[in-house]
């Protein structure tokens, strides 16, 4: 492909995405459907901007799925994964097994050979990791029971792809020379056995164990010093490069030993879930993942074969419907078996009732190995693509029609659990200031996400068992990764005044639902922060100075309670004046004007103190008036 051609292609894809996704979202259809429709529109059956090469794009874009699994892994603490072992193995295993058998049975009834039926059944048992996770994420449903169950099943399927790839050639009707997947399908060439086929089985096993072990051990012990080494440079793009390097490196390694790259990066993600650089990694990888997944969905949309649909509408639509119904029925039954609540069970069954992207790879692989005939595989590929397209619509149906039937009580219960997983508070800057505020919250049972930018400080805190994450809080993507969309409070306690202002500005602009509590160095800084949208500000030295003043009053002979009240009054008054002045001031820049203003402020302040403050304290509990009056 020439350079020019590449740019034109990129232009078309990006334009399609930029136009269709916002429209789809505005219409409440979700981004996935937007991408799919964009694909249909620019595809061979729409405007014909992309043709055959769309398939290449699809295989390239599948890497988005690998990145997505890395990100999913990052969100998943090992303990949580361990808790999910039952659903993954039980629910996932049964889903693949039962769906494959039912689908194969139907295949037999339709007159296919048992080999073909089995292959079709196994392939159709797969659901779309990309569509389901993206949709659930977008709707904020990942942490619900249904979300976790869906994720478990998808994870099992992703793992099951590998043995299925190994099994397919054995089902061949005619013997044929083993075919390896075309090189452009490199990402999912999980079972490309040719490379190491020469090795004896025990060496092969050793190689697999060694690589996976390497990922786990390397992830645990090597990444930290490396990330730290890079973090000290504060060169953002190097960190991004490092993150990409990590994901791509693992993908290559896994592919070389014949395992699924998606599985490998997922494992790496889980290993790094506890790592302090997790949020940074997340925000670095996320845009790539988003773009690639979008590209992937577009290419799926573009690949739908409408010719087939026009020629044999009944057959294709029947297949789509049959596929959805069978998958739904099996999933729903399993949900019952696993005692899922009805509303969750429905969500779970609706979400996964489609064919998946693995089906494309598996079908072409099966075709090359003479397991399936072109006629069978083509119509099934079309059906799978259409069923993927249907999923966002089904989810909308579930959202608008099915779920509202369930009582509020159920929803209220769920809310609690979400709280459990997503921290309501983010603290940026966990030094002397942030620590006191944070410890108070933690001591009272609140979960707090801590961000710090000083690697040495992170090391120290980690050694004492604090979970602190590396990251620059003035980065929007990082705040997002740290959960700013779900949190309720943002505490800005960093010691750099300029940066504090920047963070406050950013947060109040992009996360208006967050209450912002900020640390101010002095009065001037406080004005600035108030103007930028901080809800609560605390001057870092104010309270302690006030305490000291109170002690001084006492030493001068004031009774404790009077001194205490005087300080209270002083604080209230000072805060009132502070707020007023903050709103009065313009954005004067000249330093001289600033200095003059400053001394004026102070004079004004001292004057008003004189008039108002002392009087008030003296009036309370005063009975002199009583004594005077008869």
């Amino acid at each position: 492909m020439s350079n020019q051609g590449f740019f034109i292609q990129a232009f078309i894809y990006l334009l399609a995405a930029v136009l269709s996704v916002p429209i789809a979202k505005r219409l409440g259809l979700g981004s996935v459907l937007g991408y799919l429709l964009a694909g249909v529109i620019i595809g061979p059956f729409g405007l014909r901007f992309v043709g055959q090469e769309g398939e290449d794009v699809m295989h390239f874009a599948e890497f988005g799925v690998v990145m997505m699994l890395f990100l999913v892994g990052l969100e998943l603490q090992p303990t949580l994964l361990w808790r999910l072992r039952m659903p993954i193995l039980g629910l996932g295993g049964l889903q693949v097994g039962v769906t494959a058998l039912v689908a194969a049975g139907i295949g037999l009834l339709a007159g296919l050979s048992w080999q073909m039926s089995l292959a079709v059944g196994l392939i159709l048992a797969m659901s779309s990791t990309a569509i389901v996770l993206q949709t659930l994420n977008e709707k904020g449903l990942m942490k619900t029971d249904a979300g976790q169950a869906s994720f478990s099943v998808l994870l099992f399927q992703d793992i099951a792809v590998i043995p299925i790839l190994a099994l397919l050639p054995l089902l061949a009707i005619r013997k044929s020379s083993p075919v390896s997947l075309a090189s452009n399908q490199l990402i999912f060439v999980a079972a490309e056995t040719t490379k190491h086929a020469s090795l004896p089985a025990w060496q092969q096993a050793l190689l697999v164990l060694g690589t996976v072990g390497g990922i786990i051990i390397g992830g645990r012990f090597l990444t930290r010093p490396i990330f730290r080494f890079i973090a000290v440079t504060r060169q953002r793009e190097v960190f991004t490069a490092m993150a990409l390097l990590l994901v791509i490196g693992i993908a290559i390694a896994m592919q070389n030993i014949g395992l699924s790259p998606a599985l490998g990066t997922f494992v790496a993600g889980v290993v790094l879930a506890e790592n302090e650089y997790r949020h940074e990694l997340e925000s670095d990888i996320d845009p790539f993942k988003g773009l690639l997944l979008g590209l992937f969905f577009i290419s799926v949309g573009a690949s739908i074969n409408f010719n087939l649909l026009i020629q044999q509408p009944l057959l294709i639509l029947g297949l789509v419907l049959g596929l959805a119904v069978v998958k739904f029925a099996v999933l729903f039954g399993l949900g019952r078996l696993f005692r899922m609540e009805l509303s969750q069970n429905l969500l779970f069954a609706f979400a996964l009732a489609q064919g998946g992207e693995f089906a494309f790879v598996l079908f072409s692989f099966a075709l090359q190995n003479n397991v399936l005939t072109p006629a069978v595989s083509e119509s099934l590929v079309a059906a799978v693509a259409l069923s993927m397209m249907l999923t966002p619509l089904i989810m909308i149906f579930n959202d608008r029609v099915v779920q509202p039937r369930f009582t509020l009580a159920e929803i209220e219960q769920e809310a609690d659990e979400i709280d459990d997983n997503e921290n309501p508070v983010i603290i940026a800057g966990f030094g002397r200031f942030g620590q006191v505020a944070g410890r108070l919250l933690i001591a009272n049972g609140y979960k707090v996400t801590l961000l710090e930018q000083n690697p040495a400080q992170i090391d120290l805190l980690r050694r004492f068992g604090w979970k602190v994450f590396y990251g620059d809080a003035s980065r929007l993507d990082l705040l997002r990764a740290a959960g700013a969309n779900q949190a309720r409070l943002m505490i800005v306690a960093i010691d750099d005044p300029e940066k504090t202002v920047e963070v406050v500005r950013l947060v109040s602009k992009h996360f208006p639902h967050l209450k912002i509590l900020a640390r101010a160095t002095d009065r001037r800084h406080a004005y600035e922060l108030i103007r930028r949208g901080a809800d609560v500000i605390q001057r870092e030295t104010f309270e302690s100075a006030l305490e000291l003043g109170t002690e001084a009053l006492k030493l001068l002979g004031s009774r404790s309670y009077k001194a205490h009240r005087a300080a209270n009054l002083f604080r209230d008054h000072d805060e009132k004046v502070l707020r007023e002045m903050a709103l009065l001031e313009g954005d004067e820049t000249a330093i001289i004007a600033r200095a003059r203003q400053m001394s004026q402020d102070l004079a004004q302040l001292l004057q008003s103190d004189n008039r108002e403050l002392t009087q008030d304290v003296d009036r309370a509990w005063d009975i002199s008036a009583l004594r005077r009056s008869p």
Partner: protein, 211 residues
């Protein structure tokens, strides 16, 4: 509404998160028009009461309600502090202290002890009316009319939701009737506890005499 009173509820509960009764009572009257709920412990956690603001509030209302749990035969400490600070000489009483004159005063309290405990022979030895005498006299000294108190008793025994719900509904009706002036005032003055005779003293709109 023809006769509409503005009602100020001064609410004092130091641990609302543990409250079983008051939290429902207060919720039932929150957000009503012309009813100001003023949560003192929420506003003044360090007992630093803004006297000026409180006096302005008093001036702007016609019916003053003290709502609180009964603690040691009296109010929680902050409400006492409030009285000491806000009911100033020259404002609420004494020379020129006429700000509260003609307003109505209601105590709305909840007690752990049951009805039977509050009588000569009960273990509290005095009736609620007797124990509330400091509030009554404070109101009278400030020139306010002291209304029979609204009392929810035996809160320790109130387990069932429906039991509480009945009191909640009574309280809401009381506050609304005071606000709308749909009260048989002479009948009301005969009662020991306001909530003992709600049916008789709250007039429905049909039986309202047209004035």
């Amino acid at each position: 509404m023809a006769n509409s009173n503005r009602v100020l509820v001064l609410f004092a509960h130091p641990a609302l998160e543990k409250s079983w009764v008051n939290r429902h009572l207060i919720r039932a009257i929150q957000g009503l028009e012309s009813v100001t709920v003023h949560d003192l412990y929420e506003l003044y956690p360090s007992f630093h009461i803004n006297v000026e603001l409180e006096q302005e509030l008093l001036l702007a209302h016609d019916v003053i309600v003290f709502q609180h749990p009964f603690y040691w035969y009296s109010s929680p400490a902050l409400l006492k502090e409030w009285q000491d600070l806000v009911l100033e000489y020259g404002f609420a009483y004494g020379d020129g202290g006429t700000a509260l004159r003609g307003k109505k005063f209601l105590s709305a309290i909840t007690t752990g002890g049951g009805e039977k405990a509050y009588c000569r022979k009960g273990y509290n030895r005095f009736t609620i009316r007797e124990l509330l005498v400091p509030f009554e006299q404070t109101a009278v000294l400030c020139g306010m009319e002291y209304l029979p108190p609204f009392v929810v008793q035996g809160t320790h025994q109130l387990r069932e939701r429906e039991q509480i719900a009945r009191h909640v509904e009574d309280y809401r009706r009381t506050i609304l009737a005071l606000r709308d002036d749909t009260v048989d005032w002479s009948g009301l003055r005969q009662l020991q506890h306001l909530n003992h005779g709600l049916e008789q003293i709250i007039l429905s709109s049909e039986t309202m005499p047209h004035v």
